[in-house]
């Protein structure tokens, strides 16, 4: 089969226009690429960079149909996203299987996220089935889609529009070998968990996201009120971005914000002790200095904790919205009080009162 890259469905095609290759009367189907189930060192390096949020657009697989091994017209077809981590997890899990992999154009986003946005969706699946001329390549009419693609896919519509029956595979690609034995999933294979390892893996991106504002604020604090204040700022941020994901299920209460307040308060206690035991300060000023971290740090940590909802695998929009209305006002009040005490202390120092 001759490779003709530009004949149809260019990768950059915006929108969901149906494939025009056959409408134009061309008989040349889209190129079929070849892949293996081997994960190379350079693949691993790419995964590492992806986790640190390095160049999102660099972790993209070309959409289209792929041959894994030596598939025949009777081999199974699997759908995937064009994000290297998703595609690589699938092909390595299929080690030793001859199969077709249909990579949808999800703009380099993983299956679940893309399904939520609709880019891993019915329209794109139907479009790729047409573009790849899948119906002419395989004899059967079944396509195995990862379960986490289901929020974007309506199987009744896919079968009506393309003739292909969607079978939902397990949540995790690594369960595929077991699943494929009799095409039945155990309840565990259908469940999404959020274990320690999955939470830790998100930490780099959480840190990178907040790094710049954290540095700016700690440097400012360093010059305004000294190294310990700068350290307090860094601690509050790290509590929200590192400790919080790591300890998530261990922190009491269900809501993310309340967990964040608790964690932030605990982290603030040593600073409160330190600031209130400054022998140079008069009594009222030590009291204020001790209260400042107890006001500011829980507010910062709780806000970061609340924002972690977007990275989890189980928060509903209804619940998160309730959290926002319940806790953001508390965060704002604490933060404002904390800033006011800080300013009072700073002004008193400037005025020579303390």
């Amino acid at each position: 089969m001759k490779a003709v890259q530009s004949s149809c469905c260019p990768e950059s095609a915006e929108g969901k226009s149906p494939c025009t290759c056959r409408a134009e009367g061309s008989s040349i189907p889209q190129e079929i690429r070849t892949t293996t189930s081997e994960i190379t060192a350079s693949n691993r390096f790419d995964h590492f960079l992806a986790r640190w949020g390095w160049k999102r657009e660099a972790h993209i697989v070309k959409p289209g149909l792929y041959r894994l091994g030596n598939p025949t017209p009777d081999s199974m077809v699997f759908a995937s996203a064009n994000y290297t981590l998703s595609f690589d997890a699938l092909r390595s899990a299929l080690h030793g299987t001859d199969a077709w992999i249909l990579v949808l154009d999800t703009k380099g986003i993983n299956v679940w996220c893309a399904a939520g946005k609709g880019t891993f969706g019915t329209d794109e699946l139907v479009r790729m089935i047409e573009c790849s001329n899948l119906a002419g390549i395989v004899r059967h009419r079944k396509i195995i889609v990862p379960q986490l693609g289901a929020p974007g896919i309506s199987w009744p519509e896919v079968i009506r529009r393309s003739g292909f029956l969607v079978e939902y595979g397990p949540v995790r690609a690594r369960d595929l070998p077991l699943y494929l034995k009799n095409h039945a999933a155990t309840p565990e294979m259908r469940r999404v968990e959020f274990p320690l390892q999955d939470r830790l893996i998100l930490i780099p991106i959480e840190i990178i996201a907040i790094l710049l504002p954290m540095l700016v604020i700690s440097i400012l604090l360093y010059f305004i009120s000294g190294p310990f204040s700068a350290l307090a700022a860094v601690s509050a941020v790290l509590a929200g971005t590192v400790l919080f994901p790591a300890l998530l299920p261990l922190i009491p209460t269900r809501d993310f914000s309340s967990k964040g307040f608790i964690l932030g308060f605990i982290v603030a206690i040593p600073f409160a002790y330190l600031f209130s035991h400054n022998p140079d300060l008069p009594g009222w000023a030590s009291l204020l200095a001790g209260f400042t971290p107890l006001l500011l740090m829980p507010a910062v940590t709780a806000y970061l904790a609340l924002n972690f909802t977007g990275s989890t695998t189980y928060t509903s929009r209804t619940g998160v919205k309730k959290e926002i209305f319940r806790y953001v006002p508390v965060m704002v009040i604490l933060a404002v009080l904390g800033v006011v005490t800080g300013i009072l202390l700073g002004a008193s120092r400037l005025a020579g009162v303390i």
Partner: protein
């Protein structure tokens, strides 16, 4: 107290169910379970409103207002004076947006 996740927008109309069990297959949180003539709603509070069950039910026996439970997206929408419910996770927008995503597809929309 300190649990905002009791209620969801999930609505199940058992009288329409034809027991095809697609909802059990697609739900990532085991919200539906098998029953003799129709599926049973077992763990409603665990629903994350992903919308998979409703979209894949062939007889519209399930309704849910699907959306992303991402505080950051909703707060940014509110700040910009937009409707919080239409807020979209930033994943997939610009080239340097989020979505860590493990090989096992952890969903996320980490801040930009």
């Amino acid at each position: 107290m300190f649990n905002s996740y009791h209620e969801t927008t999930l609505r199940y109309h058992p009288e329409r169910c034809i027991n095809c069990r697609r909802c059990i297959q697609v739900c990532p949180h085991g919200v539906f379970g098998e029953g003799s003539e129709r599926v049973a709603l077992l763990r409603e509070p665990a629903c994350m409103e992903c919308g998979a069950c409703a979209l894949n039910c062939p007889v519209q026996a399930i309704d849910v207002q699907s959306g992303v439970g991402c505080a950051w997206a909703m707060i940014s929408a509110a700040i910009r004076g937009k409707d919080m419910d239409s807020a979209e996770c930033t994943c997939g927008g610009g080239s340097d947006s989020c979505c860590g995503g493990s090989p096992d597809e952890t969903p996320c929309c980490t801040n930009e």
